[in-house]
Symmetry: C2
Subunit: 228 residues, 2 copies
């Protein structure tokens, strides 16, 4: 990810100022509340974790996600327990985390990780019928640009069986760490290797369905250039 | 990940039979409740999402994790709100998800993702003082095998400032999908490319701290061979 410039970071955004719930207190210097940083981390995500509460307790479920303007969208079957609960829940939380590496310090205590994360609080709302098709098209565009015109689109039955929900990014916060380890001054002379073991979610060559003989479309050819 | 054989999958484990909360109802054929599958997915994880509930609502926070026998462990500063709440909460949930690829079907509706996921329900418990050091050593071994003997170990003050919690894997479930898309029979003849766009969390070459002149230890040299 290219991090936004300071100018962009200071632009007024839905995430600033932090709420009681989004104000980051642990290692607060890693917190970001600006729209550009939150959006960049959300846009690099293909999936998120959604946590919510019902009579059986707290749940935390992974699901695909995409962004349209200042909302994060999720979708699924009308029969999904999670989607049913989220429609009536006054509150939920979405967490997105990209792990970028292990940070190995000279002391065990100062080991950490490099990461980019966003937490979004708020209620989910049902996306109206008329917006369902366009919002699902935006999801397809997020996953595989240009594919929308190639596949068989959802028919009336499939669309009717699908629920699309969205949550505003208004109450959100980002937290991220980059760079080498930070050791205590007294440990800097220790004869121990220190550095970062980087991790990148890497696209591998597209695998054509054995039952398919079609030539690769541009989104399959370009897949290996995607960065997350 | 190498998936366990059917024999291993049928071995009695802490995850079988599923509880009310862990029984997977959506696409139930992707569910697994055996110990070997749950452990393999947990062991491939460097971090997890922990969801819990307090007076301000539901929270979902990413944090590093590791497994010792039939428990998942997390740690952090004694001052962490999350760790304080989890010690008194009767209930929490941990979610681990590895995304393995986008599954592009001939119809928009049948698009999906390949993934390996685990959800763990239960209370966290405080790891007793005497087990704190050994359990943190196991975390280091999980991150960077052999490093434990090279770094400066935590001193009494650092150890005293650290809380280690664990949650039993007894109430857990895995869900995973692998393989090519599954289209409706009526769509199989459509002239549209179908297949998988694979994703792998890939270790990149170790980056030595610019302030460090030490030779690379084995865990840094071998880092690029790690699979998650």
């Amino acid at each position: 990810m290219t991090l936004p410039s300071d100018d962009a970071r200071n632009a007024p955004g839905p995430g600033a100022p932090p709420s009681r719930r989004t104000r980051i207190r642990r290692i607060a210097e890693n917190a970001r509340y600006d729209r550009a940083t939150v959006q960049a981390i959300v846009d690099a995500a293909l999936m998120c974790h959604v946590a919510f509460f019902d009579a059986e307790g707290v749940h935390c479920i992974p699901t695909g996600c995409w962004r349209i303007e200042d909302h994060l969208y999720i979708h699924g079957s009308n029969g999904s327990r999670m989607l049913k609960i989220l429609q009536s829940a006054t509150d939920a939380v979405v967490s997105i985390t990209h792990i970028d590496g292990l940070v190995l310090a000279r002391s065990a205590f100062n080991h950490t990780m490099n990461y980019r994360s966003v937490v979004i609080y708020g209620p989910f709302e049902l996306v109206p019928e008329a917006e369902k098709g366009p919002s699902l098209a935006a999801f397809m565009e997020h996953l595989a640009p240009g594919r929308q015109t190639q596949t068989r689109p959802g028919d009336a039955t499939e669309l009717a069986a699908t629920t699309v929900l969205r949550i505003s990014l208004a109450e959100s916060a980002a937290k991220l760490r980059t760079g080498p380890p930070e050791d205590d001054a007294a440990d800097m002379g220790r004869p121990v290797w220190a550095g970062v073991l980087p991790l990148v979610l890497t696209p591998q060559p597209a695998q054509r369905d054995p039952a398919c003989n079609e030539a690769s479309p541009e989104h399959a050819v370009r897949w290996e250039q995607r960065r997350f």
